[in-house]
């Protein structure tokens, strides 16, 4: 279970950043893993093509929570284009790695962020 959770994963898990929802979010990304039941919702606020604010709500294991927290930090302040380039691998690396078994099931944060940006682009008619 905690086999191989890095200190950084545990630090983000214990003190997750940017928890909660943004009431008037410009985009919301809802992703989940149908097999294990993990759910991750990412909320974004966009200003001048930049991510002004990013928050999350997650139902899942330690890795699911840590990756959610990490991506909010990675994405904040980035342009939409930069944010779309963040990959699952980037998130895992920023956390000093994830246990192999968790790489697929709980590493959903990049998907969640991309889904939120897509939602924003659709809402604002830019796509």
């Amino acid at each position: 279970m905690t086999d191989g959770y890095s200190e950084k994963v545990m630090e983000h898990f214990a003190n997750p950043r940017n928890v909660g929802e943004i009431k008037d979010a410009d985009g919301i990304g809802k992703v989940g893993n149908p097999v294990c039941g993990d759910l991750m919702w990412i909320y974004i606020k966009v200003k001048d093509n930049r991510l002004e604010d990013v928050k999350f709500k997650t139902f899942g294991c330690g890795a699911a929570i840590a990756t959610s927290s990490m991506i909010t930090e990675m994405a904040k302040g980035k342009t939409l284009e930069e944010a779309l380039e963040i990959t699952r691998k980037d998130v895992a690396e920023a956390l000093d790695g994830l246990p192999p078994v968790k790489m697929h099931c709980s590493n959903l944060a990049a998907d969640g962020l991309h889904a939120a940006i897509k939602d924003y682009l659709e809402r604002s008619g830019k796509k």
Partner: protein, 378 residues
């Protein structure tokens, strides 16, 4: 508070074992003094293990683990009786040592009925009776379930097995040392035990084999253990097992104290909003607490509890290597996400009311923190 995973070796058990490593290191098969010494100690241990379950000494075989005991009972009997039939009856909430042994036998041409359980996690004896065919050669139903604590109606099943003259095996590993066991009252032909779940050492198990029950050995060799389980006996382990069995009998009244702690913990944790007891309030192992909390996931709760110095376990898929949720919880009718939020505490000799109060004081905050994070919580 995870004593169902394993228990610490009791100091008295360690002390009993120590001389049999280097000082009295003889092989029980040797005829000279230190060999005889080892054999005597081993036979005394066999007597203690037999006493724990109301059996005769010569009906106990020592093995290398509880898993081996289950394998030997099921495969040994199925293969020995193959000429009489090829059908086995078991339940959907057995330990994997039983379930996967049965699954293996299916690949070898045997037919297995996996009985469902009712919502609270009990096998219905009427289902056992209804599943019996002229080809049934074995019924294997556990004495008690280690995850949700349900004590199965083994005596009723034993009666049915006796009437139909079908051997009945029970995995008593989670029950041993916690509730009284009597092989005659239960009507079993085979019963599995493991030392490390009852304050004994790891690496030693036992199988009770009622006189007249023939088994095909899994291990062939020097003819140890009445030619049913070859391999030089693990004398220190067996001596430790014997001591642990003796202590378990002496300390059986301790179950009352543990039961009180259990009920106090259940009551305290059910105060948390949207929490539910898994298993039953009746016929529950004295040490078992299993509660599910809506909208949160088990591994996250365990990691948080660990940070507070509490060890527990969960039926959540996230914490299993296979990423599958607990088959026991699913068999009781829970959905994936409900199994996800399940937390199990199993109490032991070392636990006190203070420990229980501590868990009751820290868990609400943990659940609350995770619910704040959860998109499922309102």
């Amino acid at each position: 508070m995870d004593h169902s995973s394993t228990t610490p070796v009791d100091a008295a058990v360690t002390e009993a074992m120590l001389p049999y490593f280097s000082e009295k290191f003889g092989n029980p098969s040797s005829l000279y003094t230190i060999g005889r010494e080892a054999r005597r100690a081993m036979e005394e241990a066999r007597g203690n293990v037999a006493d724990l379950i109301g059996a005769k000494k010569e009906e106990i075989i020592f093995t290398g683990s509880g898993t081996e005991s289950d394998n030997l009972a099921i495969k040994g009997l199925a293969y020995r009786n193959r000429k009489n039939g090829d059908h086995i009856i078991t339940s959907s909430i057995e330990h994997h040592a039983v379930l996967y042994t049965c699954k293996y036998l299916e690949t070898r041409g045997f037919k297995v009925t996996y009985l469902p359980v009712r919502k609270e996690g009990f096998v219905n004896p009427a289902d056992v009776e209804a599943a019996i065919t002229s080809k049934t050669t074995l019924i294997s139903i556990m004495h008690a379930n280690p995850e949700i604590g349900t004590i199965q109606p083994v005596e009723d099943i034993g009666k049915i097995a006796k009437e139909k003259n079908i051997p009945f095996h029970t995995d008593a590993i989670p029950a041993a040392g916690k509730i009284p066991i009597n092989v005659d009252a239960m009507g079993v032909s085979l019963l599995s035990l493991s030392a490390h779940k009852m304050y004994g050492p790891k690496g030693v198990g036992a199988l009770y084999i009622r006189k007249g029950t023939g088994l095909e050995p899994l291990l062939h060799g020097g003819g140890h253990e009445r030619d049913i389980r070859s391999g030089t006996e693990n004398v220190p382990g067996i001596v430790g097992f014997g001591k642990a069995a003796q202590l378990a009998m002496e300390r059986m009244p301790e179950a009352l104290r543990i039961t009180k702690l259990r009920d106090s913990l259940i009551k305290g944790l059910l105060e948390i909003k949207d929490s539910y007891l898994n298993g039953s309030t009746e016929k529950r192992l004295p040490d078992n607490v299993n509660i599910r909390f809506s909208y949160v996931e088990g591994e996250s709760m365990i990691l948080n509890l660990d940070m507070k110095g509490v060890a527990a376990s969960t039926g959540s898929a996230c914490s299993s290597k296979s990423l599958e949720p607990s088959h026991v919880l699913i068999a009781t009718g829970l959905r994936h996400e409900e199994a996800h939020g399940s937390l199990r505490f199993t109490l032991g000799r070392g636990n006190t009311q203070d420990d229980v109060d501590y868990v009751i004081s820290v868990l609400p905050e943990i659940v609350n923190k995770l619910r704040m994070m959860s998109p499922l919580a309102r």
